[in-house]
Symmetry: C2
Subunit: 251 residues, 2 copies
DNA sequence: AAGTGGTCTAGACCACGAC
DNA sequence: TCGTGGTCTAGACCACTTC
C-alpha cells in the first residue's frame, strides 16, 4: 500500500473534477437521458484512480437523481423529473430585516383551547389536545406585510405555554426553539375578502398568496400556520440545479 | 488486509443505520443545533467500522445541511435554515393525466420574431436573437386548467423551429427533448383581469396563481414560461425532510 | 503543535439481475 | 453465469484551524 498523497492536481479534489465532468456531459446533452455511461472500472482507468473514488462520484450523481444505477446492467442517465425546485420559505422577521426594512409585529388574538375538529385535521391529531390559536400581523416599514394564523400543539410543544406571544412572533420562537423538523407546504392564491382586506389594508378583491405549512417531527404536527401575503408584493423564488445547489450550496 | 465481507447485520447497510441513528438524535433534539457530535474516530469505535464508513455518513449529513464540519474543531449540528422545501412542478399534461382527467391542448397564438427588449430580459439575452412566442391553453376534463405564455430561444434550441406546436404542447416537447436543465421559479398571485378571465372562464377579479420559470443550461435561457392557474383550483405542494427526501426520495 | 476532517488507495466479499 | 454496482477495510498523506 504505497498510496495516496499525490492529491493536489489542480487544487480541486479529483472526485469533484470527475463529478463536474460527468455533469457537464449530461447537462450538455452529450450523454442524453437513457445513455449508458462507462462502468466504474473504465473511470478508474480514465482518471487513474481507485474504484472507491469513482464510486463516490457515481453514487453522488445517483443520489442527486442525475443517473440511475442498476447492478449488472450499468449506470444510465435519468430522464429529468418534471421540475423539482428547492423553495426557501424564510422566517418573516429575517426576510424583512435582511432586506433592510423595519420590522414590526402585532398580536391580534390569542386563545388557548381544546382542539376543534378543524384543528385536529390541521395538526393531524388523533385525539383532542390543548392548543394555542394565534392571529398576528407582521409589518415591513410600517405597512402590513403578512397576516398569520397559527396553531401550536401543546402536547408536542408544552414550552409554548410559557411564551409571551404578544412580544415574540410565534414563528421566530418556534424556529429558534424547536430544532430540525419536517414541513409540508401548500401554496395557493385567494382573493382577500373582507377580513384579509381590512388586515392587510387592501381592496377586498385583491389576489393574495397563501402559504400553509404543517411542521412535524414524526406523528402529530407541532404547529400549523397559514400566512397571507399581498399577491404581487411578495413572491416565492425557487431554484433547481441538478444538485450541489439543493444539497446546500456546498462550497 | 483480511476484510469486509461480514456485512449483512440486519439487511440494512451499516452506513444507513448509522445515518438514521444520527438523524434521529438531531431531529429529536437530543443533539440540538450547535451541539458538537463525536469525532470520526469515536464513531469507528462505537460502530466497530473503518473511518471511511464514518466519513461517508458524516459527509452525507454535511451535504444535507444537517451538520457543519470544521477541521480541527469538529462537527456541529446546524441551525435549521428557515424552511427549505422541495417543490415539484410537474408537466401540465402529466399532472392532469395522472389524476385520471382528460387532457386537451389548444394553441392560441404562435409568433416567430426577433426578441423584443422584454424577451431579452426574460431570456437573459445579451443580444437580439430569434425567438418563438407561444400562447396556449391546457384543459382538464374540458375545462380550462391553465394558460401558458412561453418564449423559446431559437439560438439555444434551434430544433424548436421544426416542431408543430399546434399539436405538441411546448412544455411537453421541451421536457422530452432537452435534457437536464437548471430552472428558476417565481411564484406569485395576481387577479385574473380581462384577458386571463376570458381564457380561463373566470370572473375578472378571481385570484390566480402565477408560476414563472426560466430554464437554462448555463448562459442564456432556453425558454421562459408563465403559467396561470385559477388560484384555488390548483396549488403547489412542497415537502421538506432533512434529506433523503430532497436527495431524491431514494430507496 | 496537534487534532480534526478531506481525500485517496488497493484491495475485499457480496448480492443482484441481465444474459 | 458472471459482470455490475454496493459496501466495507485498514491503512495513508494532506490541509486546515484551533489550541
Amino acid at each position: 500500500m504505497k498510496t495516496a498523497g499525490r492529491k493536489v492536481d489542480a487544487d480541486e479534489p479529483l472526485y469533484r473534477r470527475m463529478r463536474l465532468d460527468i455533469e457537464r456531459r449530461i447537462l450538455s446533452g452529450e450523454w442524453p437521458p437513457g445513455h449508458r455511461i462507462p462502468v466504474e472500472h473504465e473511470f478508474t482507468s480514465t482518471y487513474k484512480c481507485s474504484r472507491m473514488t469513482v464510486n463516490k462520484v457515481l453514487s453522488g450523481l445517483a443520489d442527486a437523481g442525475l443517473i440511475e444505477r442498476r447492478r449488472r446492467a450499468g449506470s444510465f442517465v435519468s430522464a429529468p423529473r418534471a421540475h423539482a425546485a428547492v423553495l426557501e420559505i424564510p422566517d418573516i422577521q429575517s426576510a424583512i430585516q435582511s432586506r433592510g426594512e423595519d420590522y414590526r409585529y402585532e398580536l391580534l388574538a390569542e386563545r388557548r383551547r381544546l382542539s376543534t375538529r378543524e384543528d385536529m385535521k390541521d395538526l393531524l391529531l388523533a385525539a383532542r389536545q390543548r392548543v394555542i390559536h394565534i392571529q398576528c400581523r407582521h409589518f415591513a416599514n410600517g405597512v402590513p406585510f403578512t397576516i398569520e394564523e397559527r396553531l401550536i400543539n401543546l402536547a408536542e410543544v408544552p414550552e409554548a405555554a410559557t411564551v409571551d406571544f404578544s412580544v415574540t412572533p410565534p414563528g421566530t420562537w418556534l424556529l429558534a426553539f424547536v430544532p430540525w423538523l419536517e414541513a409540508e407546504h401548500r401554496i395557493l392564491a385567494r382573493q382577500a375578502g373582507q377580513d384579509w382586506g381590512a388586515l392587510l389594508n387592501l381592496p377586498q378583491d385583491t389576489a393574495c398568496l397563501v402559504v400553509e405549512r404543517r411542521t412535524r417531527r414524526t406523528g402529530s404536527a407541532l404547529t400549523y400556520v397559514r400566512q397571507i401575503f399581498q399577491g404581487d408584493r411578495y413572491f416565492l423564488t425557487a431554484r433547481f440545479a441538478p444538485r450541489d445547489g439543493a444539497t446546500g450550496q456546498s462550497r
